[in-house]
């Protein structure tokens, strides 16, 4: 069984107050030198059968229609070996 990972991130121009809250907490915890944090989602899909071009096309389709809201988010599909 192959695994395909879909990373979903807010578009760069969209304000991410959750990421900002994480970043603001870092110096308090003693972690310096982090100038920005953006928070996103990672989906791990266990795929039955071969991960060929057709399977990837289906996954891109489900990512675009469902996993990501492309009004506010970008997504990236990666095959894990």
């Amino acid at each position: 069984m192959a695994r395909v990972v879909v990373d979903v991130m807010l578009k760069p121009e969209i304000l991410d107050p959750q990421g900002q809250a994480v970043q603001r907490a870092l110096p308090r915890l003693g972690f310096d030198g982090i100038s920005g944090v953006r928070q996103g989602k990672r989906f791990e899909l266990e795929v039955e059968g071969p991960v060929d071009e057709a399977a990837l096309a289906r996954i891109r389709e489900l990512s675009e229609t469902f996993l990501a809201n492309t009004v506010i988010e970008d997504f990236q599909v990666k095959v894990e070996s």
């Binding site: 121009e13 969209i14 304000l15 107050p17 959750q18 809250a21 469902f66 996993l67 009004v71």
Partner: protein, 234 residues
Amino acid sequence: MTARIGVVTFPGTLDDRDSRRAVRLAGAEAVPLWHRDKDLKQVDAVVLPGGFSYGDYLRAGAISRFSPVMETIIEQAKAGMPVLGICNGFQVLTEAHLLPGAMLRNTELHFVCRDQKLRVETSATAWTADFTAGQEISIPLKNIDGRYTADPRTLDVLEAEGRVVFRYATGGDGREGYGNPNGSLRDIAGITNEGGNVVGLMPHPEHAVETLTGTGRTDGLGFFTSVLRKLVAA
């Protein structure tokens, strides 16, 4: 015959009972609709009430949008049927692309619950005909994912076409209930589609239909009497 207004219940919906009560108080028949049922039972209009449908999993409204009842609602809304999305219902309408833009976590990251002052920007929709443009109303607001977002071009189109229906009233010199509670772009609280039949907003008109509860005013009733008047006239 009285008009029939459907109120959808998804798993996790909270405000379906209040919405049905508001519909009845306005003088229409409230028809319960179930998320798994494609059949709209010959209703003349639909209310998508607030709550946390499907637990807000993935994104608020993202899963509800693909429920069987929404298939028919999307089709009918495109054909002109009046649809009102309140709070979670508004989120469902943007996820379904019946309304442009999207809803994000409030900028302050807090759940906000308060009586909210709104400015009605247009009475030219199926759900706001009983208001006047510029009128200030007060209805409850309760959400955490209420930050309306769209790209600048979409916002310009909405403004140019008079499709911003409500804005958070920002005057009031810091008095309670004024101000933008969630960071929505251009203080937008509610919008409509090109036809004016689909309206979505974050605050809750169905909680402000009797003086005993809610804001102590009945500003929310106008939503339901507006659509009723349109349906009776049709």
